[in-house]
Symmetry: C2
Subunit: 169 residues, 2 copies
């Protein structure tokens, strides 16, 4: 079942997991957007993924152990997708990508503020964020946030502050 890897290099193998245009965006939306359902991901993404691609990628990510899928008890047709430990540990990579992209690419202010906050927070903030994700997706208890605000909420607040600011000129 091991489908012939091109090489045993960690960077190459990482690319074989999420080196396409969509997989990492799905994981991004799940990590930062808290999305867990098919339609949430489908309609929530800024980039407009097609439903067949989304279905394909979700299946693939489950097969690769990056996600798990289970039934939603509240709705017989609903599926809940959860992050696994490997995908939770993508947070530092997301942070690095966000920092690099914000520096060198034509990002929009609203969408890059999260990346900046996360980058400036450094490893301690990433750890807190990953602990929150473990609680949310794996059921592992985490210490409550010191300031009573989750990291995701802090990122969201920063985002909303920018959006509000850009309208109230």
């Amino acid at each position: 079942m091991t489908q012939a890897h091109r090489s045993g290099c960690p960077i190459n193998l990482s690319l074989e997991v999420f080196g396409d245009k969509w997989s990492l965006l799905i994981l991004r939306d799940m990590i930062f957007g808290g999305r867990r359902h098919f339609r949430e991901i489908l309609n929530g993404s800024q980039e407009g993924i097609a439903s067949n691609i989304l279905a394909n990628r979700l299946k693939r990510l489950v097969d690769l152990g990056m996600l798990t899928k289970r039934d939603d008890p509240t709705h017989k047709q609903k599926a809940i997708y959860s992050l696994t430990e490997p995908s939770i540990e993508l947070v530092p990579i997301m942070a690095a990508l966000g920092t690099w992209g914000s520096r060198w690419l034509p990002v929009t202010e609203e969408l890059s503020i999260r990346a900046r906050v996360l980058g400036e927070g450094g490893p301690e903030l990433w750890d807190r964020f990953m602990a929150e994700l473990r609680q949310e997706h794996l059921g592992i208890p985490a210490d409550p946030a010191p300031d009573g605000k989750t990291v995701r909420q802090s990122l969201q607040d920063a985002y909303l502050a920018v959006v509000a600011g850009s309208c109230t000129v």
Copy 2:
């Protein structure tokens, strides 16, 4: 000329630059392998990139400002590809990818030792490495290495030590 980005999100824009199976591997070989010529990259890669794909990606990376191309004075047909500041600053991303891949994917020992050394070296080592790359590719003078050994040489030594060790059982 701005070819309609899918969104202004830094992670999405980063993926638009190197979210394919080859671009990042080319940059990896240039950064860690010191490769500067077409054939060097073509034949040196573990993964076996095709020449038409390589030509396409090099052109694309030059257009995107991730590489520059100039003539080699020693051979009228040779081209020298150089990293630019944005691509040099991929080092932390490479390190994060390498660390993550080494932890979660079936890497081979020889090819992941570099990633481990780089990951354990942390930001100070990355900075030294980036300074070396700036000297090599941009002509910006760098302080000599404190132990007289370049970071790339250190990584290479670690690699060779593993290769030797796995043979002398």
